[in-house]
Subunit: 205 residues, 2 copies
Amino acid sequence: MSMNEIDGMTTNRILLAALKLMQDKSFRSVTIRDIAQAANVSEMTVFRHFKTKRGVLEAAINKYSFVPSFKEIFEKQIVHELENDLHLIATTYLDQMQRNMPIFLIAIQERTTMPELSSVISNNTRQLRELLADYFVTMQNENKMMKVDANALTTTFMATLFGYFSSTAFWGELFIRESREEFVETMVATFCHGLKKEAEGYEQN
Amino acid sequence: MSMNEIDGMTTNRILLAALKLMQDKSFRSVTIRDIAQAANVSEMTVFRHFKTKRGVLEAAINKYSFVPSFKEIFEKQIVHELENDLHLIATTYLDQMQRNMPIFLIAIQERTTMPELSSVISNNTRQLRELLADYFVTMQNENKMMKVDANALTTTFMATLFGYFSSTAFWGELFIRESREEFVETMVATFCHGLKKEAEGYEQN
DNA sequence: GATGATAGTTAGTAATAACTAACATCATGC
DNA sequence: GCATGATGTTAGTTATTACTAACTATCATC
């Protein structure tokens, strides 16, 4: 049993350094030298651990990508009250994407050279998409929301979340200054109540 | 007056080839050889026209980026009817981004190495943002929509548009299959009318 | 048919970067 | 104290690629 490399500490430093560098520059632009310096090891150590540069990325993806089961998360917490539920769904999705942010950014940059990488995002998104569409249908059947095309609506809702996430992932607060909580609050309110003053609508605030 | 290189045809083929290649791979990964082959000229021709690889990109950005005046476009067409106007605004924004799509994709990939590139997107977005916020305030004053925080609302609206655009720019129809027209239709309807069945709401469709 | 502008060809330079090999160091546990 | 395993160091190989230089070929215009 080796006392060196306890818990793969070195391995881990390398992977984290690689992720951090590759989310900003492209895979191609990040050199082993960069990674080694950032992880405070020698280049040889990187090669010894991962054989190739590509191997570093693959190991990092495997270790640091998360595809949770939205189903399980929601099953217990959905209360069939529109605002409550949408708030939960939005927050959970953004949480999830935040955790996968490095992989997301790399996947975008390498989307033509390593299309497999998109599968993490793809799986998360598709999973939530289906759940959300089902949820809307259920709510419509329970007569708790308007009967509009559930699929189209799901797309709009997801697009809004994706827009917020990706804008902040790319540019921080350059375009969107609202915090995640503020944003979710506003978007859920908007989706639920709409903007138009109908014949005799109620007034918010 | 030379009859060769009429209208900068060669120059143009090179620029278009460069844009096309660089939206998929990173600036770093695209070689002059790639560009020359794609443009069907020799490498030397590329260097003669643009001196450096970076020069190619800069020329391409200058020639193929558009920052229109949303103000002018809207001044004539806004009719102060919520659904109509939002439809126009959404369509115009998506149009604009579509025209700038190559620059958008490159700007994202090079956002840390050439942050200036983001200014095209930045200018377009900021411009529309302000206009939209003003528009909401006006509509609220005219009592034609609910009195919610105009800025927060603007963020949500822009996020939705940005989400649709970027998802399709990155992955085509992988996540969003709806056409631009279908999407705008749904999102405007959602924003205007909301989803919840209020005490005695009306029914859509 | 000479001129000048544009493009192609070929050869070369210099820098970068992935990856290999061989040897040195150093701490841990026995 | 010695074996072991992880890491560092140094030197080198090979491929790629931006960019230069010098020469050639083509072709429209005069």
